[in-house]
């Protein structure tokens, strides 16, 4: 998608000249992106309800507040491209086009879920749509993404590429270091997309890093990289589109740090003693969805009524997903040892 665009006016983002491909998108596309953001938001609100009502066996990590990051990034790559996701993966998954019904069913442990109830929130994957999966291991997607990048290079001559989501916390895992270095020396088409939401669980980035910008780690690998506003969907879109193009040209990997914030606790059981209500409130005021909706209204892409209508539509989709999930059957205990191995037919 980014490939076919004319060069538009450029913006300077963290020292890079980035073309504003977003502004050239059709209105329909822009609205679709808003819709995805609402889908994520409402999906997570619904999930939270399930948690409160004790309907989720296990834990969940909500993506609320980070919607611009997943949507902006995923819309800037192609449908055939790959993503790898994280424990906080619902947003990535929805952006990549997952079926909300089957996601919801998975959360409730149903047989109709993406993983037949075997994976749950932390393992939703949809290989067919190019989503190589959420991952319960912090940093778990980094090696996989790099390997997918190798496939893209060897099998698809960089026509396909990989968008690898990971958190600020994951950037201190050894596998981050090894993976990015390998992608760099081999020139693999991978965008390492670090969602810096200022905390790894309870640990603020200030305590886990002695550098100001995580993207400065690019210097350890000789690659490009920059820090962007992860709550500005257009900026995320433009940056990822820019580097996706570079990836396809064989220019190798890049490290993007998208600054954002998670509104909710780390997981189900987080009392949030490590941050102030005030801090949370301030970030909530910078709601990426509201910000984007206002932009679209201001730019006359849509009217306020249309926004409300969109919200309502999304609400209905979620309600349908809930019905589907609730009505679906649980897997049978007899299936427990199925799917461990691939068996030739």
């Amino acid at each position: 998608m980014a490939k076919s665009k004319q060069l538009a006016n450029k913006q300077k983002i963290d020292g890079y000249q980035i073309e504003d491909g977003f502004s050239q998108l059709e209105g329909k596309k822009k609205i679709e992106m808003l819709k995805k953001m609402y889908q994520i938001r409402y999906f997570e609100e619904q999930t939270e309800q399930f948690i409160i009502r004790g309907m989720i066996h296990g834990t969940c990590h909500l993506y609320t507040g980070q919607e611009a990051s997943a949507v902006g990034a995923v819309y800037a790559i192609g449908g055939d491209d790959y993503i790898t996701s994280t424990h906080r993966g619902h947003g990535h998954c929805i952006s990549k086009g997952a079926d909300l019904k089957r996601m919801m069913a998975e959360l409730l442990g149903k047989k109709t879920g993406y993983c037949k109830g075997k994976g749950g929130s932390m393992h939703i994957a949809d290989i067919e749509s190019g989503n190589l999966g959420a991952n319960g291991i912090v940093g778990g997607g980094l090696g996989i993404a790099t390997g997918a990048g190798l496939t893209c290079k060897m099998k698809y001559a960089n026509e396909k590429m990989v968008l690898c989501f990971f958190g600020d916390g994951a950037a201190n895992q050894g596998i981050f270091h090894e993976s990015v270095n390998m992608a760099s020396i081999w020139g693999l088409p991978v965008i390492y997309f670090c969602e810096n939401n200022i905390y790894g669980m309870s640990t603020p980035t200030d305590d886990a890093f002695n550098i100001d910008k995580i993207s400065d780690r690019k210097l350890a690998y000789g690659i490009e990289g920059l820090t962007i506003d992860g709550n500005d969907v257009a900026q995320v879109y433009n940056t990822v589109a820019h580097f996706a193009q570079a990836c396809r040209k064989g220019k190798g990997p890049v490290l993007i740090e998208a600054q954002t914030y998670r509104w909710k606790g780390h997981s189900k059981s987080d009392a949030q003693v490590y941050r102030s209500k005030k801090e949370v409130k301030e970030w909530m005021q910078k709601d990426p969805i509201k910000r984007y909706a206002q932009k679209l209204v201001k730019e006359d892409v849509m009217g306020e009524a249309e926004v409300s209508q969109l919200e309502e539509e999304v609400g209905n989709t979620i309600a349908e997903a809930v019905d589907f999930a609730k009505e679906s059957a649980f897997p049978s205990p007899s299936e427990v040892e199925d799917d461990v191995y691939f068996v030739k037919q």
Binding site: G117, G119, M122, H123, G136, G169, N172, S202, T203, S332
Partner: protein, 330 residues
Amino acid sequence: MRKITYLEALREAMQQMMREDEDVFLLGEDIAEYGGAFGVTVGMLEEFGKERIRNTPISEAAIVGVGIGSAVTGMRPIAEIMFSDFLTIAMDQIANQAAKIRYQFGGKAKVPLVVRTPGGGGTGAASQHSQSLEGLVAHIPGLKVVMPSCPYDAKGLLISAVYDGNPVIFIEHKLLYKNKKYVQDVPEKAYKVPIGKADIKRKGKDITLVASSFMVQRSLSVAEMLYEEQGTDIEVVDLRTLRPLDISLILESVKKTGRLLCVEEAPIFGGFMGEVAAQVTEKAFDWLDAPPHRVAGRNCPVPYSLVLEQEMIPSEERIKKGVEDILTAV
């Protein structure tokens, strides 16, 4: 005495050691303000400060590596790995460094490192947060592996572990931490439960059940149930320590009952209880009235959905059936 939970017992052990001994300190992810993913270290930051309740980045290999380096040079670190599944990330540090330093240096180093970590399933945390990986570490010479099943043992074993002078993998269980059902009288003073000693948690004469950690509790429930229902008198042996294994106590019990059922949460294939069954057969063949059997986890990762998870992990029903099968055999 007062009744406290398993979690409280662990915390108390750490607090008491840290008050007495400057060399003891904790390191791990989110153990400070947050108090650890399961709350074991809640409140300890306030008492001991952040130098000694040392929050780390998400770097499991370095957490253990740093633990080793500080242990070799005179500290007594207690490293927390948030879920035992992540031991795999630090496996080189554990198996190739901590376990081998003393031996490969010809006995001229000590590694008094404790790695505390919660194992086991039953919380719906799925395949990467529910494993029982004790078999992996128990196979490595140079490590000790401890798995307490109750608050009393938890406190006493943790104190022993910190002062053992060897690397100890100390595996706790998520379902034991806060469950009021398992509270116990625990002495307020510090005390040790010896590493390497199993414990008969219920005396019986008809069959020996060998288990560790949460499976001890489940075995005890089954024992009570079967005693009431059918008068079957089960002896429950709690391994407490997997390595070194207290094989003599197990043999004693089996020689008395003539029958052995091993109960294990990990997938049965290649699991630790194979060792126990094999040793018992080797050493007490003539006393056995029936072949030793194992009731263990299914041969799959731990699944998410409740119905599947309950099927994967040995239930009371499965243990009961295992007992009945052995008793009706021969």
